[in-house]
Assembly symmetry: C3
Homo-oligomer: 249 residues x 3
Amino acid sequence: MEQSRLFDMIVLFTDFGWRGPYVGQMKAVLAQQAPDQLVIDLMHDVPVFNFRAAAYLLASLVEPFPNGTVFLAIVDPGVGSRERRPCVLKADGRWYVGPDNGLFNVIARHSAEYSAWVIDWQPASLSDSFHGRDLFAPVSAQLACGQLPAMTETRLAQNPEEWPIDLAEIIYLDAFGNAMTGLHGARISKHAALVLNGTRINYARVFAEAEKGVPFWYVNSNGLVEIAMNQADAAQTLGLEIGMQLQII
Amino acid sequence: MEQSRLFDMIVLFTDFGWRGPYVGQMKAVLAQQAPDQLVIDLMHDVPVFNFRAAAYLLASLVEPFPNGTVFLAIVDPGVGSRERRPCVLKADGRWYVGPDNGLFNVIARHSAEYSAWVIDWQPASLSDSFHGRDLFAPVSAQLACGQLPAMTETRLAQNPEEWPIDLAEIIYLDAFGNAMTGLHGARISKHAALVLNGTRINYARVFAEAEKGVPFWYVNSNGLVEIAMNQADAAQTLGLEIGMQLQII
Amino acid sequence: MEQSRLFDMIVLFTDFGWRGPYVGQMKAVLAQQAPDQLVIDLMHDVPVFNFRAAAYLLASLVEPFPNGTVFLAIVDPGVGSRERRPCVLKADGRWYVGPDNGLFNVIARHSAEYSAWVIDWQPASLSDSFHGRDLFAPVSAQLACGQLPAMTETRLAQNPEEWPIDLAEIIYLDAFGNAMTGLHGARISKHAALVLNGTRINYARVFAEAEKGVPFWYVNSNGLVEIAMNQADAAQTLGLEIGMQLQII
């Protein structure tokens, strides 16, 4: 019983924030259509409408989740438009449900194998503006319950092979002012420095080993290169913003 | 088993915000007194102390929830005063637990039939300032478990028939700067314009069809008229505030 | 079955905020390692890095929780340093898991009896910066499932007897601008006044009985002395900050 539960987790990853009824309404759908599955709020403050940063962020977070986990991931500037299709990706045993706008490209890029489908299944009632609740949540519930919704195999709208594995950009600023990048710590020398907004930034293993008032980079708990300051707000001090590019020297 | 769970959902709708221990303390009570019921955080950023806006907002959100759902709803400027009574409403098969201050009036106004009760049940220990945890949560747990607390049938303190079905006011601003109104989209012509703070606002079906930089109104995913801008913050651009009135022309 | 669930609750108390993946990642660990236990978010906006204020806050919140509850509590400026040890406290039948930096001192001070252990158990993979996910969450899951991780009885790094029972300081500012103190309402006369930042503050039983525009103190729902204003923001009006000291006259 515990085992079956593990393989059914539904993980939410959105740019909805914690304000408004949006997250709650999706969870109400999941509660009704997949009542025995655990739902985890992974994050709801993904950079708004920024599916490129979100794609790198999501890819850094999925590894600890077991096979069969369903990620309901929504960062979607084009909701209601006819251009972007609703899709399902299966990669390395995990499911991803959301818009086919690039959000799953880094997952696909990293995976040993993946398949993608466009969702054909339609709810009885589909609002123009809230596909998360009306379409993606029911499809996620079906997958978590071991059912396949009507869907057709396809290619992702954007070719994952054209996306770099390492992205030398800031992809997320956390509440403490730390700046995550799309660079993998395992692929960069500890002797390398980063240059960001004119500032040279050296490596430190942990906050406690960094000099106060001096920015440093370290490998964060998800394996990404992150820029921080010991007991200070690096983002504010250095004027960092999501999308800002950095050099490795 | 799945069925029984569906009929027992407890839905939280408050102005407590996500800061502080308040939501967590209510959920700890529910976890102990109704451990098998699912608890959904519908929203915790209802306009603070504004039970009138909250009443219209709540009424727009309840329809997807099944019979037997218990809404624990608290927007309560008068907590600790002796004037407002604690009440239970049953309307169209759903339960509502909270203060009798108008919060449930729009639900009652819209329902085919409803009954209201004043809560006589008292906890062993009742704080002066946190009836949500001490009184409303235990009563919600009892109802969700199929037990009736001691209560006496009554009339709501305010007569629902005196509240308009459509409220031509802003009742909520979301994190993206979209402004919900108390107007029902199904009851207004798509050719109508809204006038708000001196600005004339026309209809668009979805964000993607609206011109950038020009505010529009559309019918949101809960059926309410909502004012928005494509990839911009309508509330900030137009100086919108909760309670602001609008004209339909 | 309901009983067994009660004794297994895991309660989160952190300074992580609701932004970022941190809370979600801890809950994903708990979901996998303690899938039948209820997890309660008690609060995630504990004053950042302020384990002293946090210790008084936590102690005011635990009483309603049953024996066997596991508190996963993290306020940890020294994560990654070798100075502070990971610890487990058992006090009055409840478990506490977190850093041995003073966070559990007020709990220990108040308890009839307590024991403390340093955690010897090590995860297969331990990041430098996120012990909450890698170490404290698995240990909490083990305790909630009735297993004891490898650990050695010890003394707390700071002696609880040296911490005062009442702390005449502001320990928390809530979203409404109310200021909690570390003073116990039951140990102070209702005729006493507080002096804070040059302002004299008298007692009122509830908000509704306080004069508008005049700050008052009352005993909050957790038994602590709290400073507030009726329908106004006391923190902003009086310029209050966490750590500010007050006098009782």
